[in-house]
Symmetry: C2
Subunit: 523 residues, 2 copies
Amino acid sequence: MEKNVDSEIIEHHVEEVEVQEERRKGARSHAASCSSFPGSVTPSDREDHSGTQSSHRLLAYSDALISIIATVMILPVAHTKMKDNEELSVQLLLTTKIAVYLMTFLIVTVAWAAHIRLFQVIVRIDDCLALLNLACMMLITFLPYTFSLMAAFPENILGLLLFCGCVMVMGVIQSGIVLYAFSRPFLLNEQIQMSENQTFYKRHILKVIMRVPLMCFFASIFSFIFFQLSYVLLAVVIFLPYISQSMKWCRNKAIGPVEQSPDSMLFDTYLPDEPLSKDRVEAFSDGVYAIVATLLILDICEDNVPDPAVVQKEFGGSLVAALRSYGPEYLAYFGSFATVGLLWFTHHSLFLHVTRTTRLMGLMNSFSLAFVGGLPLAYQLTHEFPPDSRNELEAIRISCVIIFFAGVFQLAIWVAALHGERETLHPYVRYGGREHAFMFAKLSLYPCVALGTFFLTCVLSRFSAPIFHLMEITVPFAFLALRLLVRVTLASLRLMFWPNRPGAAEEADDEEEARVPFSTLVS
Amino acid sequence: MEKNVDSEIIEHHVEEVEVQEERRKGARSHAASCSSFPGSVTPSDREDHSGTQSSHRLLAYSDALISIIATVMILPVAHTKMKDNEELSVQLLLTTKIAVYLMTFLIVTVAWAAHIRLFQVIVRIDDCLALLNLACMMLITFLPYTFSLMAAFPENILGLLLFCGCVMVMGVIQSGIVLYAFSRPFLLNEQIQMSENQTFYKRHILKVIMRVPLMCFFASIFSFIFFQLSYVLLAVVIFLPYISQSMKWCRNKAIGPVEQSPDSMLFDTYLPDEPLSKDRVEAFSDGVYAIVATLLILDICEDNVPDPAVVQKEFGGSLVAALRSYGPEYLAYFGSFATVGLLWFTHHSLFLHVTRTTRLMGLMNSFSLAFVGGLPLAYQLTHEFPPDSRNELEAIRISCVIIFFAGVFQLAIWVAALHGERETLHPYVRYGGREHAFMFAKLSLYPCVALGTFFLTCVLSRFSAPIFHLMEITVPFAFLALRLLVRVTLASLRLMFWPNRPGAAEEADDEEEARVPFSTLVS
């Protein structure tokens, strides 16, 4: 009986591949696809197409939702009004809010990683799974609010209970998703579909999924007795993947790698070189960059349209004069859009060369994105204060620090990729490859510029604002001219260290080589 | 000489296809790709991979940015505070803001369509094009602000000048993109790459691109003389595609279709059955649905965390009591998230069955999205007013109307698709296909429910709020049980009209048929 079921599944899978093949062809040449589809409808065809669906768009939508939610908590931080006189209490408030932002970002990222893990097991969806997933998303989007309640009322257990409740309901829904998917095995990924031991897999996945909700259940019970313990428990839950990951890494370094069965590899390990779905990392990053780039224009559209009555009374009817008072905010908008856009651009360039994303690269990416999410705050700060005040100087320095770390963690993604370069990178950007120097220059441009601006503002603190704006204006042009700059630098380095082998000749040589068609080199 | 260039381009193109083929293989089985890439790097390889890039992710990022900007102008509308006493002036203000929202949405959609058009010509990008595109995006995201200036100060030409300035700069950047792309022809699409007459194409595309900026130039000059004329000119610019489209459609219906050369088809026509990129329509819709679903949680996270001091003073330290006063806002959030999520779900189901998106379908989609963008406003309204007031009743009716139109325009997409079903739909959902009834039920569920709720609130106006909330709760379950409902309905219809041919037997027959493997039917 079981053999029979298995062969049915395999057959189903083979059909599926065929259908997908056909679909891809269809996308390429529509006319061909039209003629290949029969006019009348075969029931099996229907079963394949409409009963189950590719999960691609569902995941893209989930990524968009999660990325927006992850960056949302920067808004309360950015909107905290500050005055020069009440510095201390505001700084405390700001620190709390920033902590909430970072914690939210981390939690949402962990939830997102779990979502990736789940949908690496379930590769096709149907209507029911799509609706269950939407319910899950609704709960994820509510997490930031529970978290800000916790931060505002640390002594009150309500925020904690709400958080635990959300996580537990999510656990129940996710278990429902898993049970449903295992009852219709053609939704699962190939490896499990082929496996003879599906019940084992099911139990194992359920165990992994229910771990966090169970701990939340205990945390919510403890909260009635001794609520400090609950926070500790929650912190453990959140950092569990990272802790276990670093511990395993340390053990591997200390006593050598431990043999692992391929089964446990799939769901249990948090090893740094475990793959994450590259598409989803890109989609999540795109979402964060897009919402961050537009956060300031949201504010501008809402707040910076002056009231006609006010313009008449205060500016004598001159709209230009009224808008001039908003000048710094426009500058802040364009500055933040350009910075976020260019950071997206380096991220995009980097991931063009990445063939496979590891968990460590994903972690570095999350850190980079967390700092990118802080950019609107930084830019809001730069125009909040009167020119030449001590606060303005500090705001500019904070901006530099945030840009620096966002760039440095992007660089760290690359370093992590270089660590296992044969698996993660295209050959031509590997260490010593032709594009290596260029990629390195691209990734290190922002950290270097931010660091330079930071030190310049320390030395020439009187001119900090002009220096900062000059930096913003020149960086895009630096990116445009980067290829040229790298060539010049490399050539001059060559001239300095190997003067007997002139770079110009080699350059010409390269050009010659470049004209040889690709196909002749391959064949 | 020209022959030589052409053959070089073709060669380049062939290489490209090979490389893409190899990349797709690489994605499928990583190990194979690793061995097929040579260890050392060939210069031509480098040229192909890093010099030019697939434009997919750039377009996805642009779609995300544009969709956020399109929906942003609902925020000033939703945040307009209303009181029961000053109805008239507030209603006027609200009407203006809603008009601004709709106009912004329309303009941004037109800009987005132009962006699709441009990147249907340019199919591959490099660093320079990516940076130019980002500059373009920055200007598009600034358009809503200029538009709200125009609405607030219709007599002042500053908003108009800013708008025209943005459009003109965008025109210059886009011309730059086109000139750059034609100087490196391997970035262009296949048809133009193969063509012997590239200069003709270049001139033609530049002409199409510069049309709008030129009209804006004239509008900005006229604005100094007689500014009403400028507004007329701008309206013409914005609606030009739609006007020319409907005129051509009318002429076609009246005197029969006019022969068109395939060249002009590519860039000049706005015929309703001209294709739009389906991927980009999906990405743009996903962006709108995602940002709309989260707009209310943005507000909640920012505004609904009570101040500890206030809780201590007004609620005697009881956080639960303080949060209870926000109750309706949480309900509004979950209601709007569920509605938006389910509308996304029907959109997703619909586009699973769509093989090709026409311009008319894109237009219907934009209208549907414009109403979806109004949902946060509707839900904000429902909790703004005291219970059982006349305003609350009106707010609930407005919500029903908005949901109704969002759903009806989704239905219109399907009707438009059915109009040319052989080209646009998979065979099994075409009229009379097996999935036809189910798809129809899915798409008509929300319009029917919204209409029903609307009339119920008219009849039982005292219970309007409970009716509305009941509707919100039952609709997700209706979606879960929809397949069952449709089967029951069809069976009962069959029993009513053809009682001599029992549905149960046919049902069993179908099940039997469904088990025949797909491959045997095809071969």
